[in-house]
């Protein structure tokens, strides 16, 4: 049944596109606003501890109809900082 060359079936596209659209509709948060928020967050945290700005991930997760902002901010380890 599985055809490697066939494009992805349309139901999967519909679901993925809706997932993104609904997050923005529910939170009134555009992708651009989310990027701006991420930059502000990186700047604020960097004033206190050293982080790798490229490794920061900010997403809107949903649990039922509740939205939450999830930030994953890996810290640079002290050992690496001393070695560098």
């Amino acid at each position: 049944m599985f055809n490697f060359f066939r494009p992805k079936r349309s139901a999967a596209s519909a679901k993925e596109r809706l997932q993104l659209v609904l997050i923005h509709d529910r939170t009134d948060l555009t992708p651009a606003a989310l990027e701006a928020l991420k930059d502000d967050l990186i700047a604020a945290i960097s004033r206190h501890i050293e982080i790798d700005p490229n490794a920061v991930r900010i997403n809107v997760a949903h649990d039922g109809r509740e939205q939450r902002l999830v930030a994953d901010i890996p810290l640079r380890s002290m050992a690496r900082r001393r070695a560098g």
Binding site: R9, S10, A11, A12, A14, K15, R17, L18, Q19, V21, L22, D25, R26, H62, G64, R65
Partner: protein, 264 residues
């Protein structure tokens, strides 16, 4: 005991609100309940034609609200079920002829008379929608398995929650099991995953709905119609019965049954 007021709404137009109200009303009335349905779509009335009662209209909901007739005079008795009534929308007025508090007053007057008041909301999220949900004890949101309908349903669910109407129940209308099986239509699971509310019924796409509407005979009265069966099941769930969901994914035909066996 007072009536329960139930509103059916959708955000997007054309997903089946009026069809659902007509069918749930006849299904409840066929089970012996006293039912009144109200067409909330002032200026674009349609519940009368879908129920086949368009030739019996004398007064409408705006006549009641503006005191030109008594409530009883605007309640059109159904030609098949003696305990089913329709209060039609006015056709030559607009949504501003009615306020949310008018609807609350009207429904309170009906509560003592019947078991169910079903309100057919207009599309959109403006005045007509606000009027239609004002008196509701429960709200059902109806959608189709399509991106635009699901997106609008989500907006409406959000507004209902913000207005503290509680989380509505979902009717998924016009599901095509063959397309779902081919992964070319959102499945019931997909839609529930996206909207995250409780399901009250799935209605399969069914040509008998169009034939029934052509004649003004809601398919819930047709024992052979699969969509009619789905609407009868929703009516029973509304009344509090536990009714298993139709196995739409499997379909009914021989090939569908063989395919199901093959998958086991």
């Amino acid at each position: 005991m007072g009536a329960q007021v139930v509103t059916i709404t959708s955000g997007k137009g054309g997903v089946g609100k009026t069809t659902a109200v007509a069918n749930l009303a006849v299904a409840l009335a066929a089970d012996g309940a006293r039912v009144v349905c109200i067409d909330g779509d002032i200026g674009l009335r349609n519940l009368d034609v879908v129920m086949g009662l368009e030739n019996r209209i004398v007064y409408d909901v705006v006549d009641v609200i503006e005191g030109r007739c008594r409530l009883r005079q605007a309640m059109i008795r159904d030609k098949r079920l003696p305990e089913l009534f329709l209060i039609p929308a006015a056709q030559t007025r607009d949504k501003s002829a009615v306020t949310p508090s008018d609807m609350v007053r009207l429904c309170n007057e009906l509560r003592g008379e019947v078991d169910w008041v079903l309100i057919d909301s207009p599309a959109g999220i403006e005045r007509g929608f606000k009027n239609s949900i004002a008196a509701a004890d429960r709200v059902m949101v109806i959608t189709n398995p399509e991106v635009s309908a699901v997106r609008d349903a989500d907006r409406v669910i959000g507004i209902l929650e913000a207005e503290e109407k509680g989380t509505p129940a979902l009717i998924l209308n016009r599901l095509n099991p063959v397309m779902v099986r081919q992964h070319d239509m959102l499945s019931a699971e997909d839609v529930l995953d996206l909207l995250a509310i409780k399901l009250i019924g799935i209605v399969p796409e069914d040509e008998s709905v169009i034939v029934g509407t052509n004649r003004g005979n809601p398919v819930a009265l047709d024992p052979k119609s699969r969509a009619g069966q789905a609407f009868r099941n929703i009516a029973r769930r509304l009344s509090g019965d536990e009714v298993p969901f139709l196995d739409l994914e499997a379909g009914n035909g021989l090939w569908a049954r063989l395919a199901k066996l093959g998958r086991k």
